[in-house]
Amino acid sequence: MQVTFPHMGYIYVGIAAMAKWLNVGVVVPPPTSQRTLSLGVKYSPEMVCLPFKLSLGNMIEALESGADTIIMPGGLYGCRFGYYHKAQEAILRELGYDFEMVSQELGIMHMVKRITRGTPLREVITGLRFGLTKMNVLHELEQMVHKKRAVERDRGEVSRIHRDGTKAIENAADHQELKRVRQEYLQTLKNLPTVSPPIPLKIGITGEFFIAIDPFANMDMDVELGRLGAEVCRPLSVGEWIRFTPVPIILGLREKDRSHKAAMPYLSRNVFGDGWQSVGEKVLHARDWDGLVHVEPFGCLPETMARNIMPSIKDGLPVLNLIFDEHTAKAGVINRLEAFVDMLRKKKRRQVKVCV
């Protein structure tokens, strides 16, 4: 059995680690490229959203390189994402591929059992734990990277360390090595020579999960923002998503719960996807961030709702909406980000002057 899964940010690191731990054959699809996108667009329904097209492209490329089982989460409600696996299965079957689609529609345990086939549960849990730890370490590294990129002295240094660090985390074979790698890279980042920008900015990225975290889909937006000297805060990340910390969940201290609470006066119900959180983020961080970049794929249902509601929040953050589809060009994204950062700087400079 050769298991594969579509790309989403760095999630492949975690899944590959779990699979290796559990001795399941895994095919990591080739990194998302223009070819992936073209394949996805060619075989997808015309008006479906970008994550569908990209993940379909990933699946085709993985099946080409020998995979026979696809893991695709599904069964989440409201948003199209929960239905991807069925539509994609129909499309791939029509293209003549022979494979098995495993989704969590019948429950997560069912999915795990089908992939691990008879491995004792204790071992499965340790394997999952190892994968999750890797994701958490990646998350920590990423947060540090976002902080440091805005103030780095040598351009591109942080990105290089991030790349090496991701590779090292990917190659770590056990918990001890992972711990060592984590220490090493966090320390390197901490000791990096920095310059302090005249006006430090903090910009949040929120919106649809996939676009927010996938570097191919969002055209390396966090790197571009960092280059413009803005510290990126991105509460959406796989690490945050899967982190299981019972106390904050019960007390409602997670970013997600806090943002939902903040959104209450404007949007009192869950619209599924990440729409509720997007609205909340604008209210929640009105004090500690300077701006918010809201990203979504074209036609996204929950985020369209969020985008309609956001302007009615008068004392929230300034928001830049970016909509992505297969025709989005990187130059357009960079242009808008530059203009947005300039505007925020100007605003902040004026505020600082008034205070003095």
Binding site: M47, V48, A87, F272, C300, L301, P302, M305, I309
Partner: protein
Amino acid sequence: MIRIGIPRALLYYEYYPVWKRFFEELGAEVVVSPPTTQDMMVSGSSRVVADTCLPVKVFLGHVLYLVGKCDYIFIPAIRSVKSKVYNCSKFLGLPDMTNAVIPESPPILDMDVDVNKGKRKLYQAIYQLGRHFTWNPFKVRQASLAAWQAHLNYHELMSSHNLTPPQAIEIISGIPEAEANSSYLSSTRATIAIIGHPYLLYDEHINHRFISRLEQAHNRVLTPEMLSAEELQLATARLVGRAYWTYEEEVVGAGGHYLQNGVDGIIGIMAFGCGPDSLMMDMVRRQASRLKTTPFMSLTLEEHTAEAGIVTRLEAFLDMIYRKRRIQAESCR
């Protein structure tokens, strides 16, 4: 007397008799906006971001029309009406969105209809809604029972008499039925099934009188409402397994049913930017191309859709079907 405004858009076609009965039982007056006009569409579109789907824009246009003409506007958030099948995000947040983009609207009566949260929550929601009119829970109970009966009657009427929702609503409201129904049946040239959501099929402004055009060309028109719930469910199960969105049986179930039931052609109508339909209409299209028995055409509507474009495509589609029938008839002879 309290006047309750109900916009003639979105779920109006599905639930109007229920809502009307419920509010009238509680002693309120129901004000319905007139059929969609160009003005409504334009004013509704001007309030929201451009890629919101057409039916929602039209809905907001109706709400804007009702501003100043009623004391409350009734906009429920219909989350789910079946276990583990939820609605599209646009319906889930509809009251909140209306509130955000039309701040001048009269107070919104909203309620959560979510059967997945259990009966207790549902009954509580109904009572909360009734509390605006009476404190007496028994009165609310009576009204909701009467409303439920009205709902059953309405659907029974549609599937037994092959009526479209606007026709059924006319009969229920006591307006004498126009005799358009029987005149064309004698000389039908073809039977065409139309699949799609009622708020697209029966809004004559946004679909440019699509159904009456078909009827004027002497075709028999079948719509999803003419099928019983069991038929829809069966066809949905055959095509996609379990339905994923609440109102998708109208598309995928009706499409699946008519594809195998000897109609001459199927036309799918969807709105630009409709999330569920972008996948479901594609499922129907795939099935149609797999079976290769029934011609299928899909039309996408938005506010810029021109009448001429619709007419041309419809004519081409009908010509193709007539020719196919003629060739079949000749080869039989």
